[in-house]
Symmetry: C2
């Protein structure tokens, strides 16, 4: 089992970071040619100084406070807006008056799941009450829900799961742990990391010929690590492919699958098996540390849901703060509430910042001679390709028993303090080299510049 | 895989509870002979109106608030005591200024792990710096750490783990999921649920004869479900047993093992392999929903720690609130701080309440004709034995395909609204019947009374 986003390079970066702290504390200069580490290895917005959106945090603070020290305190209005106080009161009732300290239902507190159900109905233009609250499980980030679903679906080592190449390593790591088979399908870099149904069919047929019982397919959209957003027809093609081959579709961070399935009539025909994951970690919230997420299931066999429920019960429940944060993400202040305008303004500012930095980063990397980088249209990642790595570097990497792009990434880290993840950690076509970086850092322009200058020196050094 | 504490009876109780809410909302009387459910199936103190201790909650609230709305707000002193503000500032620095929204290190934020290390040193009278902060992993409650350890230790289906009978079902459920072998050893009810080393030897020998590679032993102390506290010599015997047979000791909620291991010289001889689990869920904090916990390891193979680190990395990190709560539990306000006296008083009041109710519950149950119940000296559970179940009940349970004590517990629930867990869910000697209940409910006397009256009627009904 390997987990590249927190693997070798990230561990080295942690070590460097500690050494820098120690040097600073001692008032001596460090041996590094940089004064801080820029962690672009993981989508961790708050670590790169993205600010928390205020209103949900105000509600969470009130939820932590016992009533007499919070919502009922005579001075509560000095610190908290009235709509945060009202929502906190409502959420305390939703938690049966037990507050954040009690275990909730193993699926998550029902009123919070009801918020998620309403959110999905509004988002998909579905009728009120059409989403079954019992098909929603709140989880500790999306990761936990994904792991639980794979655990329920992969019964033994004959079972397989189709995963994109490149893919987020949670899938490969969990499948390795469960002993399931990874059945890869390629995303096409030349087509902006698009999907090719012929390649899906090829991959499935090859797996079947090997006797693998393929039970599910993972779709990551917007792509991770690739950052692309799939076209509507690509999404529909995948849905029809899954329906045709009776595969459960695990849709990671996806918002358009269910509406597309509805448009295709697959929901009415009862021929879609869809699990959609969402979390508070991504996008404008970026509340990774709160560990809030959910899965919503459509057309999933009750046996699978029963296993999921047992797995959830054995963990007792996901953390109550993360559950509350999910509720606050899917239902913010209403138009007209005192916090509404500020809340929208904060969200918009973060969104614009992300969009700007995505451009700076993907265009900047694309312009480096020897690099190419598809424009990042979603998520928070760029996945540039390095078309040329000098022979000396490839030789050196082989001698050290690491992939060439791991060797490159380590050199980049020790020269510039920039921590990226080698593309080989996500899987890629033979002979391709590259890395994944986030576009969260407010130093995006400097990062691009440092990567460019380092690459020039790297090529000189190893040619 | 089965998980009795959230199994059949608890699911029925949830359903009844919802029906009661619906009836109340409609203003009609329900069909039940009770007006509320008393959830004694799970150690969930805040659900039974145990109040949160104020000071840690005040610090957590400040941690949620962005600086300008919290620690730096001009009116912050109106709501928060100065020592909570100071600690929040310190913890914000400990989180690198990123607050609760950022992923932490996969093992947990290092300054919080340092707090745990100092706590363990103080508790065990060990020298400062003797506990390695890198051997501590913060986790989402103790459950997550336990699951991770078992995942790392049980490599395949030839591996086994010794577990007490009766035991908390997390162990059996996780071992079933991992495909490992459960190797049971009996706790002796007649000896106050004590340990018998001869029985441990017998059990280990039988397992070895079957070709099982026994790698670890679980010790739960204070006992769950049994509520006993082991004697010092029992703990030492288990430590020597594990050292003799090269077993990793998984010590659940245990505080005395490490000191005992030290006294025996096992730590100096490097012949102890000990994993100690602790959480914020139990005792006077009872902060179950916050999901904070940790494991501390002594003498554990670096291979195992590396696997653990990879598992932790694949989950990214445990929730930041739970991590912060661990730090606040192991390091409260200092003597002389403004909140110190109130904090101690709150803890003491909860402790006294638990002690009183433990007595009421265990003595009350022991006095019911046909029952016996060992006095509960720790944790929050009573595990009474029912010496006589009427033949009619046993017959009826067989016809329904459930254990006799499950049948009894369902009848108790539908007659009184009291939700307990049948003893068969924890394992027990053939022919024993009983259940586990917590002594958290403030209605303890009424609960005992209802159980007594129900048992009389139950015996009449089925004889």
């Amino acid at each position: 089992m390997d987990y590249a986003v927190r693997g070798r390079i990230a561990i080295a970066a942690d070590k460097f970071s500690e050494d820098l702290v120690v040097a600073k504390r001692r008032g001596v200069s460090s041996d590094f040619p940089f004064d801080h580490i820029i962690m672009t290895n993981i989508g961790n917005p708050h670590c790169l100084k993205q600010k928390a959106i205020s209103w949900p945090r105000q509600v969470l603070a009130l939820l932590q406070l016992p009533d007499e020290l919070g919502v009922d305190h005579p001075s509560v209005h000095e610190l908290f807006p009235s709509d945060a106080i009202e929502r906190a009161r409502e959420m305390k009732r939703a938690l049966d008056g037990n507050g954040l300290g009690a275990y909730t239902h193993s699926k998550g507190a029902k009123p919070f799941r009801e918020d998620v159900a309403s959110f999905i109905e509004r988002r998909d233009g579905a009728r009120s009450g059409s989403v079954d609250v019992e098909s929603i499980f709140l989880s500790s980030g999306a990761s936990e829900a994904i792991t639980m679903l794979l655990t329920a679906l992969i019964r033994d080592s004959t079972c397989g799961c189709m995963i994109p190449i490149p893919q987020y390593p949670l899938y490969s790591a969990t499948l390795d742990l469960l002993g399931g088979k990874k059945v890869g399908y390629y995303l096409d870099e030349d087509e902006g990391w698009g999907l090719d149904i012929d390649d899906l069919e090829r991959s499935l047929n090859e797996a079947k010929a090997k006797g693998i019982n393929v039970v599910c397919l993972v779709l990551i959209n917007p792509g991770n690590p690739t950052g692309q957003v799939l076209k509507e027809n690509e999404v529909k093609d995948v849905l029809l492919f899954c329906a045709r081959h009776n595969l459960v579709l695990l849709a990671d961070e996806v918002y358009q699958e269910k509406r597309a399935a509805d448009e295709l009539g697959l929901i009415d025909q009862d021929s879609v098996q869809l699990c959609s994951f969402h979390s508070v970690s991504k996008g404008v919230y970026g509340e990774c540390g709160q560990r809030g997420g959910y899965v919503e299931m459509t057309g999933i066999d009750s046996d699978v849901i029963n296993v999921l429920f047992k797995l959830a019960a054995s963990k007792l429940c996901s953390n109550s703060t993360g559950q509350a944060m999910v509720s606050l993400m899917v239902r913010g202040p209403y138009k007209g509430d005192v916090s509404y305008d500020k809340h929208e303004k904060e969200k918009q500012a973060i969104y614009e910042g992300l969009k700007d930095r995505a451009k700076i980063m993907s265009r900047g990397l694309d312009k480096i001679a020897g690099f190419s980088c598809k424009s990042a249209s979603g998520a928070m990642y760029c996945f540039p390709r390095i078309h040329h790595l000098p022979k000396g570097a490839i030789q050196a990497s082989e001698e050290l028993g690491m992939s060439p792009d791991t060797f490159y990434s380590l050199d980049l880290l020790s020269s510039t303090g920039i921590c990226v993840v080698p593309a080989s950690g996500f899987g890629q076509k033979q002979g391709r080299y590259g890395f994944r970086t986030t576009f969260l850092s407010k130093e995006s322009e400097a990062v691009v510049d440092k990567i460019r200058r380092h690459y020039e020196e790297f090529c000189l050094k190893y040619t």
